[in-house]
């Protein structure tokens, strides 16, 4: 026990009793306080996601159809990449706890090795998350948005989604991107979609093998509903714009709220990972210059370890609620 005492209680850190309540030092106790409040913050966010998800139970995007990409590989691979990310984070948790373990035995070189591996794992994770965001923002197939906000997508005879470009007509479009230099100098427009609404409509009319899919989920088969061609034409009459990819205001995969929650919650978690890496780097260099060797204990490694494991713990839940359920 002596090895991890942060301050001997000679009128020390716990003014008053001077003891270490529950045998936990001040710093460790405060880390637990922080982790508990952070856990409640995250559960508030995930709970809000759950509320909205239950509200739109019959029309929420299906995660397997949203996250289907792997770097450098073409094709449809749901889950694999995010499973890889989960492994990276769990593994970095293992190296972290091995660092704590080595610290308790005062093995400086082992602490350095394991903390270094933890930092590398964290960097791979945030890098992967950046890639995941980029893929989600770019989008895969494109969709149309109706006047009332609904999203409609297009599928072939086998029910697989097809890109808008694959069937849109190449009728010329008059519409050009509004830039500051050729219009109002104080107004700028984001880049235009690769096809126009008119081209999609014409392409749909001339390709009878393309069908339209709505957001509505058949709760018996858990599949999105494909509508008949005449009904599809009525949907097309209500279409107002082409949506490619996802951002905070539109989402080709379905409900915009899905994109909002995804960016917010994984972003908040990613920021935790980032700050965890920064703290880990600081402690890592402190270990190298021998700060904790002189202090006589490695409790600081244990405290940053608690934070790192907590970040991993949150990811376990984010993984479940965004990708599995």
């Amino acid at each position: 026990m002596e090895a991890i005492v942060a301050d001997t209680p000679k009128g020390g850190v716990w003014s008053g009793g001077g003891n270490r309540p529950f045998d936990a030092s001040y710093g460790k106790m405060m880390m637990w306080f922080f982790i508990m409040s952070d856990a409640l913050t995250f559960s508030g966010f995930l709970g809000a996601y759950g509320l909205i998800r239950f509200k739109f139970l019959d029309s929420w995007p299906i995660a397997d159809e949203v996250f289907t990409h792997i770097p450098f590989v073409h094709g449809n691979y749901p889950m694999y990449y995010v499973a890889f990310m989960t492994f990276i984070l769990i593994f970095s948790s293992v190296t972290m706890v091995l660092a704590v373990d080595a610290g308790k035995l005062m093995q400086k070189s082992k602490v350095i090795l394991y903390m270094g591996l933890t930092i590398i794992g964290g960097l791979i994770f945030v890098g992967s998350q950046a890639w995941e965001w980029k893929t989600f923002i770019t989008g895969s197939y494109g969709a149309l948005q109706l006047e009332d906000g609904k999203i409609v997508q297009f599928v072939d005879e086998s029910g697989h989604q097809v890109t808008l470009q694959s069937f849109a007509s190449n009728a010329a479009s008059e519409r050009v991107r509004h830039e500051k230099q050729n219009g109002l100098w104080f107004v700028e427009e984001a880049s235009l979609p690769s096809v126009t609404l008119q081209q999609v409509k014409e392409g749909f009319a001339s390709n009878p093998n393309i069908s339209m899919r709505t957001e509505l989920i058949n709760l018996d088969t858990k599949k999105k509903t494909i509508v008949s061609r005449e009904e599809a034409n009525k949907f097309l009459d209500n279409a107002v714009r082409v949506v490619e990819g996802a951002n905070l205001t539109e989402n080709e995969y379905g409900k915009t709220l899905f994109a909002d929650f995804f960016f917010f919650i994984t972003g908040f978690h990613g920021f935790h990972v980032f700050s965890g890496i920064v703290i880990n780097v600081i402690i890592f260099f402190n270990v190298i210059i021998g700060t904790y060797e002189r202090r006589g204990h490695y409790e600081m490694v244990e405290k940053v370890g608690l934070y790192w494991h907590f970040v991993d713990l949150v990811w376990v839940f984010v993984f479940t609620f965004f990708y599995l359920i």
Binding site: L51, F54, V97, V316
Partner: protein, 117 residues
Amino acid sequence: MSHENSHSHAALIWKVFGFLSVVTVVEVILGIYKPAPLHLTHVLGTSFLNWIFLILTLVKAYGIAWYFMHLKDEKTWLRRAIVWTVVFLIGYLSFFLLYEGGALGMIDQHWTRWSYN
């Protein structure tokens, strides 16, 4: 944490890692294949598969908190102060949020039109 000076816990740590990995692999396989008998059956408000995911997630959370965050080695009442508080508050919050979500959904589904005739 009073007896940790003597020996390394590395063997236990690798065992826990193996366990967490197996659970994750099971989750991923179920998530990719979504077996219809689990996916399309409705138990207590959601599919049977979702309940499996939820339980496996809580099992993983237990593994991380008990062995990686070494709650197991903390004093009993420190552990209880942390775990009971968080479990109670999160359970309370989640129950009402999800219940209200279901109620909002009933209203929403009543007013949302899926055809334009």
